[in-house]
Symmetry: C2
Subunit: 420 residues, 2 copies
């Protein structure tokens, strides 16, 4: 099955809106066995939109549209589809009832111009949209499908996930493509490549190794007649990767490092506290992005001013001797955070986010230290890298999370050693 995506809205062509809908849909098509050859963005112009749709109608089996389903004259997606399929729209009584109920539920009378949102055509059925007034359109005619969804991402995503994707599943006779990403940390790209080299020649699934900010990712991609068959091709390879890479693996697919570290802490009943300078609280904020973070996050200190570091337990002498931007200060910050907030693990981050260098140390210099858990020796790192304040902060946070993970696993290993 061949598809094209058409995103509709003059605000996209003016660069006021980033078209994230197209990517959202595109990312979900391979697992459905649907080949995407073109994506287009077009303005709120009936003739130009109909032109794009007509061309897609001639070369694709499936056209997926987003946007242009609002109630105003500018919203011309329904009209343009009618131009292409040669049908007249008419108000559908059931859709009118749903629409009026939507407004009544919010205590408003329905403006009459909204009535066009209740239109259907003979080849069209409505796709429910509980998050907004515009139902989608599912057009099926002459062996082709046109799907039109509303533009607001929260409405579109729900409609895709709940109403569209389940209906498309199994409609394509193409091979489906399924990927599984195994995320590792603590070993370099070359080493991962070497460790898994016996698997790299596999043709189905194929295996790729990618270097990312949060470590090395191994991606296993299988092609098969059905999703289940593709999964069955991936499973034994994933199992082998788990044997080879062991606890270098911290997550899969969309897992994020802070969630993985949070799970690690929660499982062990460990708590964490931070003292941050150049990251300004971003590490604490990122840790608390995980639901349930209150089980293990005690809190943190943003010690932006040097006196604040000293007030919360960093030795003035260490700062005087090694500088604020130093591994020694980072370590004292980690210990101070742990002490002041009574946590099992303390993390200290100090560095130069720029734009100016500091203490003669270049922009991008970052020192990170982890104190604990227990009587473990500290885990530290430092590097100079990065362009731009926000990028430097983000990288420092990811590196700190990796370091916390390493400290926890090292403590596990010591405990096992002692027990053994």
């Amino acid at each position: 099955m061949k598809a094209e995506i058409v995103s509709i809205g003059t605000e996209i062509l003016l660069g006021e809106i980033l078209d994230t809908n197209a990517q959202y849909i595109a990312a979900r098509l391979p697992a459905l066995g649907i080949d995407l050859y073109f994506m287009h963005q077009v303005g709120d112009n009936r003739a130009r939109l109909a032109g794009v749709l007509r061309q897609a109608w001639d070369r694709a089996d499936l056209i997926i549209c987003t946007g242009g389903l609002g109630p105003t004259e500018d919203d011309v997606t329904r009209e343009a589809i009618c131009d292409v399929i040669g049908e007249e729209p008419a108000v559908d009584p059931e859709q009118e009832r749903i629409l009026r109920a939507f407004f009544a539920g919010r205590g408003y009378a329905m403006p009459e111009r909204n009535l066009k949102q209740a239109w259907l055509t003979p080849s069209t059925r409505a796709i429910p949209n509980p998050r907004g007034t515009a139902p989608g359109w599912w057009v099926e005619k002459e062996g082709r499908i046109i799907i039109a969804m509303p533009g607001p991402p929260t409405e579109m995503q729900r409609m895709w996930d709940k109403e569209v994707e389940p209906q498309l599943r199994g409609r394509s006779s193409n091979a489906v493509i399924v990927s599984r990403t195994v995320k590792t940390a603590g070993i370099g790209e070359g080493t991962v490549d070497e460790m898994i080299s016996p698997l790299l020649h596999s043709e189905n699934p194929t295996i790729g190794v990618y270097s990312r900010a949060d470590g090395i990712h191994v991606r296993v991609t299988a092609k098969a007649r059905t999703e289940a068959e593709a999964q069955a091709l991936i499973a034994p390879v994933e199992e082998r990767l788990r044997e080879i890479l062991g606890n270098a693996i911290w997550g899969y697919d969309a897992d994020e490092m802070h969630d993985a570290v949070g799970a690690l802490l929660a499982e062990r009943g460990l708590t964490i506290a931070t003292m941050e300078s150049c990251t300004g609280g971003l590490l604490a904020s990122t840790l608390t992005d995980t639901p349930g973070a209150s089980r293990y996050v005690r809190g943190g200190i943003v010690s932006y001013a040097t006196e604040v570091k000293i007030r919360f337990g960093v030795s003035a002498e260490t700062i005087a001797r090694f500088g604020v931007i130093s591994g020694e200060t980072a370590l004292e910050m980690a210990e101070a955070a742990r002490r002041a907030l009574s946590a099992d693990i303390g993390v200290g981050i100090t560095g130069v986010a720029g734009p100016d260098s500091q203490e003669g140390k270049p922009v991008g210099t970052v020192h990170i230290a982890v104190a604990g858990p227990g009587d473990a020796p500290p885990t530290t790192t430092s590097y100079t890298l990065g362009q731009g304040r926000e990028a430097i902060k983000r990288r420092a946070v990811t590196t700190a999370l990796l370091l916390v993970r390493r400290a926890v696993l090292a403590a596990d290993a010591r405990a096992t050693g002692r027990a053994g």
Copy 2:
């Protein structure tokens, strides 16, 4: 001048990459008087890409491509352009010299397959790319222009800003469209509408009022023969807006609230400290996103655990009496932050980021308090709003910044009153 944008890369069609290049370019065309009618994304496929380019060639004056300029066989942008313009590419000695020097400068020998990056055709000139190995292509033939730029955004953006946009300026005989956005806070959309109603009927420039997370934006859009003429149409309207809206205006165009608040603090020599619960440090981190934030950010405390709040100065009795999620606790947090970090202004944020309610208070409940500057009465707010942990956090940070701004301006007004 009519334009189309073509973004090239199979990874875009697989949803692995979000096409931000197209938006970057689209946003810059109106001020050049260039009308954009279509944007397309197409994979690394020579025939399909040539098809898209040929169609654009037939209906547009300007085709702007990004991607597909790498050295591999998959990179087919040059080949597809040659298919459309009917020319043969050949290695250009000067481009070859630049390319070999680029590799030599990094201590590598140039792989021979990179040589295609030195290709040109009779109608093509190279666009310099100091950030990468692929120069751009500027093709000019039969009254049309094709511009091809590399896909990596840092390379593309530099090339657009320094090499392409200056060359395109003045090439279009269309009217140029220039916008100016005036950002306000502290007054509602209806009130702004009323205040500026005498201006709303203006036809050139037009004026629009938009509600955004960081306040009400007023957008002035002028159409004229040149950018200078458009600016001249905007200037008197902007002046009137300044007279009417006064210090409700906190910024213009791309200005961000945290930068504006930072400037306000720096101008007055005021310092700020935070105590954050549900936002987990995001306010402190956002404040420190502004270069030079160390002039006014003392630091902050992330008091995620209740004991941490008490340890750093919040009264246990207040918490017991009103709950952690209360205006009273927020205010004590603000005062504690100010005290513990010796700052002029303290900000306290406590709330329920979810997914579960807390103390019987619903997800999205947030209390924010600002203590100071000086002996000012506290500034506080609370609301229940938002879906999703990260959205709740972001909204709380924006609201806190607005509140700090209000507290500083109120102190200014009191000082003026006293002086007067």
